[in-house]
Point group: C2
Amino acid sequence: MAQTYRAKIFVTLRPSVLDPAGVAVESGLKELGYETVEGVRIGKYIDLQLQAEGEQEAQEQLDQMCDRLLANPVIENYRFDLIPE
Amino acid sequence: MAQTYRAKIFVTLRPSVLDPAGVAVESGLKELGYETVEGVRIGKYIDLQLQAEGEQEAQEQLDQMCDRLLANPVIENYRFDLIPE
């Protein structure tokens, strides 16, 4: 029987890829007085529910979703946490 | 002496706020064949380093940064994990 899982997916730019939004936010934080802030990187946090026959199937589906739609594998990495509901 | 901390910040839309990007991604996933996907919500994941005199000061600075720049408190919630480096 299918089980419902909740997935928390983190999509981040690969370390070698420039992050202009992160640079802009870092500059904004420094201007507000937070001068010790460094290395700001901005990624996506995606929350969803799915159904699968088990944890392995859920992980396989999520890997496919990330590779096909949620992340751009050329410039982004992803990881996810899976929580049975 | 100042200690370096790494912060992982999660900014999410409040549950009562519509998320058109999440709706679009959910529809895209269903069209790709992942028909059990529900409740897609898209937020931001921000990674940064900062220096502070202790964990409490780091938390206070991060709360301020989120309230003033990183999140929009009217429509978004935030939480963060703090890791000493």
